[in-house]
């Protein structure tokens, strides 16, 4: 994956004006979408397909706080994922386990209100992580040493996202 900030031509920062980025994605789509090159040569059709894919991928990455953080870490030259992130602290793992237990109880009881309560707590915590990452990346200003310090927060956000996905899946099943 290329640097999504560069692909969309926007400032490389965590606190993005997503509305402006969406507009940029749309403007670039107007210029690059394969529909624009339907009567062009085969090379140009392939080129437009490749670039439209890059642009769509970049927009998908920047919309997602986890992938946005990863893109900034890549720019700073910091390894993440299995290669670079420290193991999650036991307290976080314990909390996640407890939340999962509560969730599975609520799901079993088809208790939509209780599930919504868990979901809202998870989302609040996610918002907290996103805010910390925003401040952190701002202060780091591309410095690898300072960016490394953000890895635990990113790890926490990953755990919360996974939990939120599970909650959505349960909510979906209950709604149907």
């Amino acid at each position: 994956m290329n640097d999504p900030f560069q692909t969309l031509g926007v400032d490389a920062r965590f606190d993005l004006d997503l509305g402006a980025v969406e507009k940029r994605h749309r403007d670039l789509s107007r210029a690059l979408h394969p529909d624009r090159y339907a009567d062009a040569s085969a090379t140009e059709r392939r080129m437009s397909l490749s670039r439209a894919i890059e642009v769509n991928e970049a927009w998908r990455a920047l919309r997602d706080p986890v992938r946005r953080a990863e893109a900034l870490l890549t720019r700073a030259g910091v390894a993440f994922g299995d290669a670079g992130e420290p193991k999650a602290p036991p307290t976080l793992l314990m909390e996640m386990m407890e939340a999962r237990e509560e969730l599975s109880e609520a799901a079993h009881a088809k208790d939509a209100a209780r599930i919504a309560g868990i979901a809202s707590r998870v989302r609040d915590r996610e918002a907290g992580c996103v805010e910390r990452l925003g401040r952190g990346f701002d202060a780091a200003a591309g410095d690898a040493g300072k960016a490394i310090a953000l890895l635990p927060t990113l790890g926490e956000l990953r755990y919360l996202r996974r939990l939120e996905d599970e909650i959505s899946a349960i909510e979906e099943t209950l709604a149907e």
Binding site: M1, N2, Q6, T7, G9, R24, R26, D27, L28, S29, R30, A31, L32, H33, P34, D35, R36, A38, D39, A40, S41, A42, T43, E44, R46, M47, S48, L49, S50, R51, A52, I53, E54, N56, E57, W59, R60, E172, A175, E176
Partner: protein
């Protein structure tokens, strides 16, 4: 078949849009800036999607075929769309129907439904191709020559169903410019007609498929936010529900036979239609014993029978709203599409579901074809303000790979804007593993066994290494038609083992080529002329595109480049009207090569202009920046 007529220089080829429906199909085109449905010689606009095969091998399509359905239900295929891209063991083959199916001889054959008609085996792709051929003939009667075509598909069609539809187009001798999702086509027709901006839901209940799409209309950009549906849910199911009730009244018993089933299905459909304007209907039906019986059906009774079917659409609608991150109250309007939305119960259900009166002022039978015609016109570059309109559609179902334990790893989630791509690295799990099995699936379920299997292939020739050492990079690419291509390579050893696969739904490229050959009167000869025509089209396309670009972007040419391009243009123009497809092909490639670098610079400028909001002052600096991106792309794709 008169292939050369297509390129009659006196009549320029015109793009057309086709709605290939479960029950009815239509063809439309843009005339004087407005989309219109093309009628056949009898003035009919809707061509029933029915194909009859007679003993002598003659094929009858449309209204005539539908008439023959009653007397020879087995040899008259209706609703072939419900079988497109589906396997021999699909539940659809076990529902109430009137067909005989061929038992598959091989696992590959089992991937596609095969009907038996008069001892002959035909696939849904061939049946659909007959319908498309008929629509093409109707269009040719009016336009003389038909250019490229946009064919619509249900938004919720998976990769196999899309590929099958595209092959049917190819088999009918059409140049398929694009597969377009039906709800998006409808929104295009509405949006351009009404010049409206806002957030809309399109509720599309047809004969055999249901789609719901949430999309944002913003100054000519139609951005799909989410889509959902069921590719086996529609008016046919309402007919079946009622037919079961009628068969009971007819004393049909457990195995009523194809003829009685056909009578019941036809009577059910007629009753459903009649109960749109009235509240009860009396029917005279034949009984099994050869007599007749009278049956009264009320609208309340019909509503009760179809309620469970209609309620299934609600599940998909709620999910689509959730995926789009919006509430029903946020919608500016709900657009009704598809003949089944004429049913009063469906209308009131939709109104209650979304909390607003749905829009239905464009004929729900025609709106999809009209949208397809507009898109065809845009793609053919003939529309005046083509650059103002853009459709950004999404992938309807997640794409992933089967991993250890049969669990699916999703590479692309549903509702990702297309075209799109993803890349993921996997590793070996056993020591000295030299091959890697890949299983590509589509669907939302956690286990691969519960998803649609798209392709299985093996990457061989990995040098023996300890477990976890090999790095296998898998790439998914989904084009603007929503069609997937998968690539895989081993990246640690440098010994590049690479495979590219296109998912198969049971008909391979060779089989489609063979069908194509068989469908042509003079076989090889016609195929050769067709190849020549295709090369000429490509030659004309690149010549026109190059001339246009030379007029607008000459400033981006480097010294000597213009001369090289002009030489290649002259060389191609010299042979483009000749009769040697291979020579034309070679010269097209020559021109493609000569313009490659320049095309990259022109695209850079298009990007820079889009980023800079057309401020030329900023463009120069942005172009410099964008060139780095181009190099990156070229390195990653080899074709960028």
């Amino acid at each position: 078949m008169t292939l050369f007529e297509i390129f009659d220089p006196k009549a320029a080829p015109r793009p057309i849009g086709i709605d290939l429906g479960t029950t009815n199909s239509l063809v439309a085109r843009v005339r004087d800036g407005r989309p219109v449905v093309i009628a056949d010689c009898d003035g009919g606009k809707l061509v029933p999607s029915a194909v009859h095969y007679d003993e002598s091998g003659r094929v009858v399509v449309g209204a005539e075929a539908l008439k023959l359905a009653a007397s020879s239900p087995r040899d008259t295929i209706v609703s072939a769309k419900r079988f497109m891209g589906r396997g021999a063991d699909d539940p659809e083959t076990r529902r109430l129907g009137t067909y005989d199916f061929a038992a598959p001889a091989t696992p590959e054959e089992a991937k596609s439904v095969r009907f038996v008609v008069h001892g002959r085996v035909v696939t849904p792709v061939e049946v659909s191709a007959e319908i498309l051929r008929r629509l093409r003939t109707n269009a040719e009667d009016e336009l003389k020559t038909v250019g490229g075509v946009v064919i619509t598909v249900p938004a919720y069609f998976d990769d196999g169903q899309r590929q099958a539809t595209k092959d049917a187009g190819r088999l009918a001798g059409l140049e398929v410019l694009r597969l377009l999702n039906e709800p998006t086509a409808a929104a295009l027709a509405y949006g351009l007609e009404k010049r409206q901006n806002g957030l809309f839901a399109v509720y599309d209940l047809g004969g055999g498929t249901f789609d719901v799409t949430v999309l944002l209309l913003d100054d000519g950009v139609f951005q799909v936010k989410s889509t959902g549906g069921d590719s086996a849910l529609g008016g046919d199911d309402m007919d079946r529900a009622l037919a079961h009730r009628l068969l009971e009244a007819m004393g049909a018993g457990a195995s009523p036979g194809h003829e009685l089933v056909r009578v019941a299905l036809d009577a059910a459909r007629a009753t459903k239609h009649a109960l749109t304007d009235r509240t009860e209907l009396d029917l005279e039906l034949p009984t099994r014993g050869g007599g007749t019986t009278s049956v009264r059906v009320t609208r309340d009774e019909l509503d009760a029978l179809i309620a469970p079917i209609v309620e299934r659409t609600g599940v998909a609608c709620r999910r689509a709203l959730r995926d789009a991150g919006v509430k029903a109250a946020d919608l500016d309007g709900v657009i009704l599409v598809g003949g089944s939305t004429r049913v009063p119960y469906v209308r009131s259900y939709v109104q209650e579901l979304f909390g607003k009166e749905p829009l239905g002022d464009i004929d729900p039978d025609e709106v999809v074809a009209l949208g397809a015609a507009i898109q065809a016109d845009i793609l053919a570059g003939s529309r005046e303000h083509a650059s103002d309109v853009l459709l950004l559609d999404v992938l309807p179902l997640s794409l992933g790979l089967e991993t250890m334990g049969g669990v699916v790893e999703k590479l692309l989630p549903r509702n990702t804007t297309i075209p799109t791509g993803a890349r993921q690295t996997f590793t070996t799990y056993a020591d000295h593993q030299t091959g890697f099995d890949l299983h590509v699936v589509q669907g939302e379920r956690e286990l691969a066994a519960d998803c649609r299997s798209l392709a299985r292939f093996v990457l061989k020739g990995i040098p023996p290494m300890p477990a976890g050492m090999a790095r296998l990079e898998v790439t998914f690419r989904v084009d603007a038609d929503g069609l997937l291509a998968v690539g895989a390579k081993e990246i640690t050893t440098g010994v590049e083992q690479k495979v590219e696969v296109k998912p198969s739904y049971g008909l391979g490229d060779e089989e489609v080529e063979a069908m194509l050959l068989a469908a042509l009167e003079h076989g090889e000869e016609d195929l050769a002329s067709r190849r020549l025509i295709e090369e000429r089209v490509e030659a004309d396309r690149i010549l026109a595109a190059t001339r246009k670009a030379l007029a607008s972007d000459a400033d981006l040419l480097e010294p000597g480049e213009r001369e090289r391009i002009e030489t290649a243009v002259a060389e191609l123009a010299e042979v483009a009207r000749g009769t040697k497809p291979a020579l034309i092909h070679a010269r097209v490639e020559g021109l493609d090569h000569a313009t490659h670098a320049w095309a990259g610079r022109r695209m850079d400028r298009a990007i820079a202009t889009a980023i800079a909001g057309k401020q030329v002052r900023d463009v120069e600096t942005d172009v410099a920046g964008a060139q780095g991106l181009d190099a990156h792309l070229a390195a990653h794709h080899g074709d960028g």
